[in-house]
């Protein structure tokens, strides 16, 4: 039933979105192509977090940890002369997942606010290490001058429109992968845990293991966004680990509505556009953004789109 409903109503919208996405580089200037790249990468990041927040009910506050680990992996590999995208993405995802596997052991036993506190602390420690271990990470200066990768099929990713299509394809792959994941028995089990952990336990599900695997999956997918981000922006620095990034992803979920497939992506689009808009017209954009965050939470804290959905049903 539900699967059909997903396709029925928004099918036209999805089609229009695909056409717009395909034509975007020929319709708009490179500035907007850059924005679209940012949106797709942040959408991957937000969707990966939603596996935890929306589907498993684990409100992680340290999701930047896996983004950052993958980002630094990309930077170090580039400096070591490794430019093959497939090698880098495999290592970025692997190390993102490995970090999640380690943090998950420490964090998953805790619940609710305690879980949030621990995930925040763990990611903040990575931020601190990136900041302070200057001989390795160059501290606040970060690693500049990271060029675009090679993908081995004769397409040059240096021009932004090319890179845009590449990121778009990866976004679609991630979208499909996550769609399969959340519609699989595994995904239903995660949502079962979100709704009632004790019931799932009583049914004989190894709840801890499911949560732990969900945690690792989220880390792996976040790794993809970290790798792409570095190739887009061209540098790595400790802000890739920052609480700003983790919280921003949560805001995307709240705005777009978490627990849905497109919600986080829409939230990502809104936040990226908003940030660029605000930073374009005032030097005090950080202040304005803070005010926007507070206003958004005060007015639309249940999510703009989930609000609409509830109105419908």
């Amino acid at each position: 039933m539900k699967t059909f409903e997903v396709f029925k109503g928004p099918f036209l919208l999805a089609f229009l979105f695909a056409v717009l996405a395909l034509l975007l580089p020929s319709l708009f200037s490179n500035y907007y192509v850059g924005l679209a790249i940012q949106i797709f990468i942040m959408a991957i990041f937000a969707m990966s977090l939603d596996v935890l927040v929306g589907h498993t009910g684990l409100p992680s506050m340290g999701h930047a940890a896996y983004f950052g680990v993958a980002a630094y992996t990309t930077g170090f590999l580039y400096m070591a002369g490794i430019k093959n995208f497939w090698v880098v993405i495999a290592l970025g995802m692997g190390l993102g997942g490995l970090t999640a596997a380690f943090f998950g052991l420490l964090a998953i036993r805790a619940r609710g606010p305690y879980f949030m506190l621990i995930t925040l602390a763990l990611s903040q420690v990575l931020w601190g290490i990136a900041f302070k271990w200057r001989s390795l990470t160059r501290g606040d200066d970060g690693l500049p001058g990271i060029g675009r990768p090679q993908i081995g099929i004769g397409i040059d990713l240096k021009p932004d429109p090319h890179f845009y299509y590449f990121v778009f394809v990866i976004f679609l792959i991630v979208l499909v992968a996550l769609f399969i994941l959340v519609r699989s028995p595994f995904g239903y089990t995660l949502r079962g845990i979100r709704e009632s952990e004790s019931r799932m336990k009583a049914l004989g599900y190894p709840v801890w293991l499911y949560k732990y695997l969900g945690f690792i999956f989220a880390g792996i997918f976040a790794g993809i966004s970290g790798v792409l981000w570095v190739y887009y922006s061209g540098f790595v620095n400790p802000s890739n680990f920052s609480v700003d990034l983790s919280v921003k992803a949560l805001l995307m979920l709240i705005l777009g509505g978490s627990g849905s497939l497109f919600g986080p992506a829409i939230g990502a689009g809104m936040i990226v556009l908003l940030e660029n808009l605000v930073s374009g017209f005032t030097e005090r954009w950080s202040l304005v953004l803070g005010i926007v965050y507070v206003t958004v939470i005060m007015l639309f804290s249940e999510g703009i789109f989930s609000g609409i959905q509830r109105g419908k049903s």
């Binding site: 506190l117 621990i118 602390a121 420690v125 920052s242 950080s286 953004l289 507070v294 939470i297």
Partner: protein, 286 residues
Amino acid sequence: MAFWIIQTLNGLSFSMMLFLVAAGFTLIFGLMKIINIAHGSFYLLSAYIGLTVLRATENFLLATVASSIAVVLVGMAMQRFFLRRFHMKELQQVLLTFGFVLIIADLCLWVWGGNPVALPKPSLLKGSIWIGSVVFPSYRLFVILVGVVVAVGLWIFQEKTKFGAIVRAGVDDEEMLRGAGINIQMVFTGVFGLGALLAGIGGIIGGPFVGVFPGVDISMLLLALVVVIIGGVGSLRGAFIGSLFVGLIDNFGKALFPELSLFTLFAPMAIVLAIRPTGIFGKIEE
């Protein structure tokens, strides 16, 4: 030998400053379950306001009073007008407090600029004291004293006063407290103000030796998080022990392995989490 004495005293003074910040964080979390990301912002704001008052009047006491009033008002307003509406909605609370981090940090950058500054020490405490054969700045000893006095004061407040009893009851069972006819919202606002005050005092007494600069808000938040995770979140005793631990380790770590000092912080935190997820003095959850 002198190295160890000086570094231990340095570590202890840092610990006591940290205790003020972490105690505020843990009080707020213990009662309201709010992860106040803006907690370090109280440190930042207080230190800057203190700096301005000190430059104008050269009176340390006046600076302390002025910045304390300011952060208490800001903290109480945050709770009263914003966070109150989202009681027990952790995500919304986190995002709201993050909005305040951005606002306060950018306002401070606007007003006070981006260069690191140290608050001038009070003139009485500018000198040094001989401890055996070691010369030690008297200001650092003063910080240790302030930390101990505040710790004792908080203990008396929590264990011996009626308001403290109400707060303890609220931590254990908020609904019962409501049922007993206590205006819990007043308690929440009050405790949020107290938490802000403690971080604010941390900013004033930490200002002369830690300094104040953009980013110190997030650094303080990180240290407070490690402290409360090691000590057990919600527990003042845990905050005290955790601060001693973190302050000393951080100081020796910085002195002995400057680049890897965060690993020396991270390792104990990971070990505590692995063995006792609620921290040394934290309550064991069901």
